[in-house]
Symmetry: C2
Subunit: 290 residues, 2 copies
């Protein structure tokens, strides 16, 4: 068994390789002036090969993968596993307007044709029950970082209150809270979208936040707008402190600065997406699944 990765993920992939007791090989990547890539893989390969590639800012990485996977096979790889701690294109799971591409289905099917197995963490599946539906004919494993996040938060704060931003996060927030004994206090907000850009969040009725240390928990943070809205509400509701813990730290553009401007204290994330906020290790979780 060998782990293959690109240089920008050498640290996370190296940790996984070590946990597996397998060698790590970096894939060489050269970009020609015309935008084409030339990849160089270790050769020969044999047995199970694990491709480590988290799929944030995914398009370029998808093309890399579509070239690297058949090349690994040509080099002799047996079963090909994709470890994509962050799986892209999962949010577009239906046509929200007529004619819209259901990218989730098409990217899912494409990946399913490209590798034999997929391991990912907290895929954003809102209206779909299981990853199997998205990845037909491919062994897929969806792990959850919620327990690791719960345990981490419990080690950082005395009597935290975990707050999820919307009803979809309820089960996930519960899992984080119940990973600790006794379970952490927890609650979820209601979120209503207005168009593509505006998000309105309301606190659950009767929730008393006065004097509480609130930790906003979510599967991912992209623009951070939802977290900002929830943080402002929590602080207005009397919380003494609001921190953030997420699985996937996408944090596009100035999202992190916006969080700070909204009065958020610490921002913690798992290493699924490489980011300065990475604090929670998911390596053992990934290693166990392989």
């Amino acid at each position: 068994r060998a782990v293959l990765a690109f240089d920008d993920e050498q640290a996370s992939a190296g940790a996984l390789a070590q946990a597996l007791g397998a060698p790590l090989h970096l894939i060489g990547r050269h970009r020609f002036p015309d935008g084409e890539l030339r990849l160089t893989l270790p050769t020969p390969l044999a047995g199970d090969v694990v491709l480590y590639r988290s799929l944030h800012q995914p398009n370029e990485k998808l093309v890399e993968l579509l070239i690297a996977a058949p090349t690994a096979r040509a080099q002799g790889a047996g079963r090909l596993w994709l470890v994509a701690p962050y799986l892209a294109y999962m949010r577009q799971d239906m046509a929200f307007n007529p004619g819209e591409a259901i990218s989730q289905r098409h990217i899912g099917a494409l990946l399913a044709r490209t590798v034999d197995g997929l391991v990912t963490v907290d895929p954003h599946l809102h209206r779909i029950a299981a990853l199997d539906e998205v990845m037909p004919g491919c062994r897929s494993v969806a792990l959850s970082a919620a327990p690791a996040i719960g345990a981490f938060v419990a080690a950082q704060r005395q009597r935290p209150l975990l707050l999820g931003p919307d009803s979809e996060s309820a089960q996930w927030v519960q899992a984080a809270a119940r990973a600790v004994n006794p379970a952490l206090d927890h609650a979820v907000c209601q979120k209503v979208r207005h168009g593509d850009h505006e998000v309105r969040v309301t606190l659950p009725a009767g929730l008393d936040l006065r004097g509480r240390e609130v930790v906003l928990v979510d599967d991912m943070a992209s623009t951070g707008r939802t977290l900002v809205a929830a943080a402002l509400l929590a602080l207005a509701g009397g919380a003494t402190r609001v921190d953030v813990a997420v699985t996937h730290a996408l944090f596009v553009g100035d999202a992190l600065a916006q969080l700070q401007a909204a009065g958020i204290g610490a921002v913690w994330s798992t290493g699924c997406v490489p980011h300065t906020s990475n604090a929670i290790d998911v390596t053992p979780l990934l290693a166990e699944a392989l």
Copy 2:
């Protein structure tokens, strides 16, 4: 029959649609802050659908295509044709060093699985005889712009001498020259690569360029290094003027400025890759193949 295209190729795709007497529909494209795309196709679709997408700077466009094609099918499209006047990843047709991905093969197979038929112009096939080998199970048509280029040059210059930069261009330069009656004068240089960056070009022995109007012709120009080397030689050999005519105007970075600095006069290209140098129409050629 309908033609689908993205807004940055509305002009070329519109000309093709008009030549086919088919409607042109633009595919809507939205980029989310996290780098993912949301495409919106006309719906419903029926019958043959032509996706127009030239594949220069290909990676982002490949992902678009991998989402758009199955979406077109889901919308009801029958046979799906890809018109990619420029076909990407054709130059990496073998492992030049151990472990190198043979991108041509993998991208070719990927496209062959994505559409039913492909129409392209002057694909850069150096060591491969036919596009069929690259696109197994897909109807593929490789057109040549050489005759159109020959005719165009003959209309611009009195007694031009067509000069190809390397031996691989010989047949192609011949086709351009022989598209005119009587055939235009023509010759090809010898090109030797030194590593990834240096290119050395030599003129054919005994070729007299004194007083000649030379037109460098090639299938594609990327960095323009080869054209610059050939132009300097031709001018040193006594050519009174050196112009350039290519099928694919990739012209990355400051390539065009480098050409001018080397003393090259006019730069002409076909519309296969949208560029300021576009002067030669390939619409009739494409329309005839469909």
